[in-house]
């Protein structure tokens, strides 16, 4: 029996799906971790990026910081925090938030800072307050770039959550680690197929949300 058949058998076996260690539970865990990390990262990074973009200051700091964050290996942070902080969710969530902050901060900043200064000045000349300019002019104009950052962060998180199983947490990576331990290649393949499909689905949903949130005035240029 080859790997493809074995993988197929694993998928079609009801026992793989149900129960406390089944696919449904692992999927739910994976999505839960991803949502939590994305939520925290957005709350931390996006307001800072938007504000810096609005004031158009600190561009070099943002670029330097995101570059530095990108070069930090997430697996290294994950294992280091796991040893320092101990078992539980805090260590991996912290490591993943550090990973996700870079694209969010960079894109929130770039999106707002790239809005045509003439548009911003026009809004100011109309007597709009600074927060009104940010929320009704700059952020709507920045949605495509800002959302690009959110999608990128979501992809990186959903991919890296797989590694959380390495420090004895759940998620789809559990099947990978368990399959590796008993040399069951088909289970590893199955789990990574699930992870890839999940990433594709998540990105597709976010793309739809992005399209709904983008002002029609910004889309016209494309077609």
């Amino acid at each position: 029996m080859n790997v493809v058949e074995q993988t197929w058998n694993w998928f079609t076996d009801p026992a793989s799906w149900g129960g406390s260690g089944g696919i449904w539970i692992r999927l739910a865990e994976h999505l839960g971790y991803t949502g939590m990390v994305l939520g925290i990262s957005v709350v931390v990074a996006v307001p800072i990026g938007l504000w810096l973009g609005h004031t158009r200051r600190g561009g070099n700091v943002v670029i330097g910081l995101t570059g530095a964050l990108r070069s930090l290996p997430t697996l290294g942070l994950l294992t280091l925090f796991a040893l320092w902080i101990g078992i539980g969710l805090t260590a991996p969530v912290l490591a993943l938030v550090i990973l996700a902050v870079a694209p969010l901060l960079a894109n929130a900043y770039a999106g707002v800072a790239a809005v045509d200064p003439a548009v911003v000045d026009a809004a100011r000349a109309q007597g709009m307050k600074e927060w009104q300019i940010l929320f009704t002019v700059e952020i709507p104009n920045a949605v495509p770039v800002l959302f690009g950052g959110i999608r990128n962060a979501a992809l990186q998180i959903v991919a890296t959550v797989t590694v959380m199983a390495y420090i004895d947490l759940g998620g789809l990576g559990r099947f990978l680690i368990d399959g590796l331990a008993v040399r069951d290649y088909s289970r590893m393949v199955a789990s990574m197929l699930l992870a890839a499909v999940l990433a594709l689905a998540l990105d597709g949903i976010l793309a739809l949300v992005q399209r709904m949130l983008t002002s029609p005035g910004l889309v016209k240029e494309e077609s």
Partner: protein, 228 residues
């Protein structure tokens, strides 16, 4: 620190493996991405196209969309999934260097194609027309005019891909692929933070040094650029 000195040859070997997996895929990925992107890039504002210009422009746009979307789709797949799934297609062992290099190359292509397309499209069409007008043939025009002019945007994309790849290499350690990431899995197993910190510092160091090298090479390749 004493741990590092006692294990210099071990760390050195892992560093070498890490460098190999960091640099080779980026070179392969770039070499593949440039022709693909050149094929997909749409030149804007080209005056008289003659008969069929409009339909050709539409075909060009469709081609660009297909290539860019395919790259985006590839980027969506987690790297760990590529490591595990690729052997099904290639028939290699998961931990073999060939498998890792090909998986990471695919990932670099996914990141680079988009920025290479942008790079070619950043070249002013008038400059290319001028080159043709003074007698450059297509091949020479590409090497002497178009490619050099697209270096700045391309280099920016290359640096992002390179740095991301260097940190991504370490993830392979989870399924037993040797690199500096092995220090993380080993350190965790032995409850030994020094080993992990050494790994993080070395990886960040490799990222900084290679990133500076690419930036420097790009600056040398674009001496005509006005620098502030």
């Amino acid at each position: 620190m004493t741990w590092l000195f006692h294990n210099l040859s071990y760390v050195g070997e892992l560093t070498w493996l890490h460098l190999l997996q960091s640099v080779l895929p980026v070179i392969i990925g770039t070499v593949v991405s440039i022709p693909v992107a050149r094929f997909a890039a749409v030149r804007r504002s080209r005056g008289a196209e003659g008969a069929g210009g409009a339909s050709r422009a539409r075909a060009g746009k469709a081609r660009r969309g297909t290539v860019v979307n395919a790259a985006a789709l590839l980027y969506t797949i987690p790297s760990l999934a590529l490591f595990v799934l690729l052997p099904l297609v290639l028939g290699t062992a998961i931990t073999s260097l060939t498998n890792v290099i090909i998986a990471l190359s695919l990932y670099v292509i996914a990141m680079m194609v988009r920025s290479c397309v942008d790079a070619f499209e950043s070249v002013d069409a008038a400059v290319l027309d001028a080159a043709t007008a003074v007698g450059y043939r297509p091949a020479r025009r590409f090497w002497a005019v178009e490619l050099p002019l697209s270096v700045p945007v391309m280099a920016a994309g290359l640096r992002v891909a390179l740095v991301s790849n260097i940190s991504m290499v370490s993830v392979g350690a989870v399924i037993g692929i040797q690199s500096l990431g092995t220090l993380f899995t080993d350190g965790l197993r032995r409850d030994f933070t020094t080993e992990i910190i050494v790994g993080i510092v070395l990886i960040a160091l490799i990222a900084v040094v290679l990133d500076r090298l690419v930036a420097l090479a790009a600056a040398v390749a674009t001496r005509w650029q006005v620098r502030s």
